[in-house]
Amino acid sequence: MNEPGNSAPSTDSVPPPPRPSSSALAVAGRELWRAPFSAKVGLLIIATYIFVALFAPVIAPYGESEIVGPQFDVWSEDHPLGTDHLGRDMLSRLIYGARNTVGIALLTTLFAFLLGGTCGILAATLGGWMDQLLSRTVDVLMAIPALIFAMLLLTIFGTSIINLILIIGVLDATRVFRIARAVSLNVVVMDFIESARLRGEGLAWITMREVLPNIMPPLVAEFGLRFCFVFLTISALSFLGLGIQPPTADWGSMVRDTSTLITYGDITPLLPAAAIAILTIGVNFVVDWFLHKTSGLKDEH
């Protein structure tokens, strides 16, 4: 799958340049131009979400939890998408939701990667009892379905954003651990690791400078997929009323709050759900293209 023996390990999100004369930026631009249509759509979607999340206070017509009209108001000029069950502007909450929902999912994924990735590389590099201990712990944690386990832990520790990030992060780190350990195991048997060990390099040098750059491509692709998974899990928990708590604008709980409207044929509850779906589809398209580029699957046909 991965090619640890590749001469130029790139920490960049683009594959190594074909000609040494072209700069990394030019290569990135050329790859982008040649990317399939679905990947371009995906990148455009992600860029839009980032823009909306960054400039939410500028774009949104009203405040995040400001009550500005009657409950369940219809779509009008003042409120382009109507109001929710408390009379808050739907459009503004959708825009702020990009910040909260995506931000929390991103933090959780980063935490999961930091924890799972570090443990995975350590387990592969150190081997022995450390590997056994970490691997068996992960086996046990993975035996219980993630959503169910998350609900059990949320009952015990209570539903707050910090708890949510920590619980989902730890549960998801198990999957990251598996991947990181598996790809690192292929790398740690290579000659350059052996020679680094003989040079007397420390553990930090070997993991950060020798192993990490060589397992970067599969980990980056995994990051995209894990983000989608975390994002969907947090949205599901919020939808069930166990995730991000009011008055924070969040897409999962917005669907829940406005869900009664669907029985009157009003599509308002579908909007936040669509916001979730579009982002995950966009990320999936980009990851699909990235996997294609880095794993040499190009010659499939």
Binding site: P145, I148, M151, L152, I156, L232, F239, I262, F285
Partner: protein, 312 residues
């Protein structure tokens, strides 16, 4: 091989039950304190603790708890003091009913779509199915559910959007009421099963004996159904069982959307009320089902593969 996998499965079940049991111990205070509330005096709490056996050491309590569960006694709910086995009984049957209903629709559909995609690969049909399934994998379940409600239930009025079945609901009415939840679950799992079926068959198509069959001039259809499919069964069965495990767990969100009286909804309600004994019982049932189905998947793949059944 088989015995090894079976004992590993039992060990997993044991460890899972220990984790779920220990989780309760991490709660500040204990069940006795929670039942009596903050106002209770130290003596009454201690008395109740003794009556519930909470003053005994953890291994003893675990043993009693496990013995109780094996005899169908899950203890009592903190919120309303009712027997948990009473709360769970009918609901678990409902959840299984919904999962089986979804499986009956989704498994044949996924196999058919997957085989067709492998047969006509890289055609417009294959590409369309690829994009559609990739999208449906990455959509939240409640999105699919509400779209189905909007069109099928509200606009066309074909099926009801509330799955409020009771113990006396006749079978046909039950099918009618649970059709939309089952369809939602179907849409969620078909994508994965179909992609795996396609991948398993295409994987085999690269092997020499298929090339031989090709060179003999056998039709494409016959190669897939007579030559590729029999060898692809093991991975396909595996994927089907894994998706059944996913169905059992994935019902939680769907049950809440359709207000279906299943185990998932009980779990969500209990988490909101922080009714730990009920959460514990539901989690144990979900986790045990999940572990057992995973075990079944592994055992079936060992049984259908002679090379695994008789290791060198």
């Amino acid at each position: 091989m088989l015995i090894q996998r079976l004992s590993l499965g039992l060990l997993t079940l044991f460890v899972v039950s220990v984790i779920i049991f220990l989780a309760v111990g991490m709660l500040p205070g204990d069940a006795a304190q929670a039942m009596l509330g903050q106002a209770a005096t130290e003596e009454t709490v201690a008395a109740l603790r003794a009556r519930m056996g909470l003053d005994q050491p953890a291994p003893v309590r675990y043993f009693h708890w496990l013995m109780g569960i094996l005899q169908g006694d899950f203890g009592q709910s903190i919120a309303n003091g009712r027997e948990i086995s009473e709360l769970i009984g009918g609901r678990f049957a409902n959840t299984i009913f919904l999962a089986v209903f979804a499986a009956v629709i989704s498994v044949p559909l996924a196999l058919l779509l997957g085989i067709l995609a492998a047969l006509y690969r890289n055609s417009i049909y294959d590409r369309t199915v690829n994009v559609v399934t990739l999208s449906s994998i990455s959509t939240p379940e409640f999105f699919v559910a509400y779209i189905l409600i909007l069109f099928i239930s509200v606009q066309w009025g074909l099926f009801p959007s509330l799955a409020n079945v009771g113990p006396t609901t006749p079978f046909l009415e039950r099918l009618d009421k649970t059709f939309l939840p089952a369809l939602t679950l179907t849409l969620v799992v078909v994508a994965h099963m179909m992609r795996m079926t396609r991948a398993a068959i295409i994987n085999l198509l690269a092997s020499p004996y298929i090339e031989m069959a090709n060179l003999k001039g056998i039709s494409k259809r016959k190669i897939i159904t007579h030559h590729a499919l029999p060898n692809a069964w093991a991975p396909i069965i595996n994927v089907i069982v894994l998706n059944l495990a996913y169905l059992i767990v994935g019902v939680v969100v769907v049950e809440v959307v359709f207000v279906y009286p299943g185990l998932g909804q009980l779990l969500v309600d209990s988490v909101q009320r922080r009714d730990l004994p009920v959460v514990q019982a539901c989690c144990l049932i979900f986790a045990a089902t999940y572990v057992l189905l995973n075990l079944t998947a592994d055992i079936l793949s060992i049984l259908t593969n002679p090379r695994l059944l008789h290791p060198k």
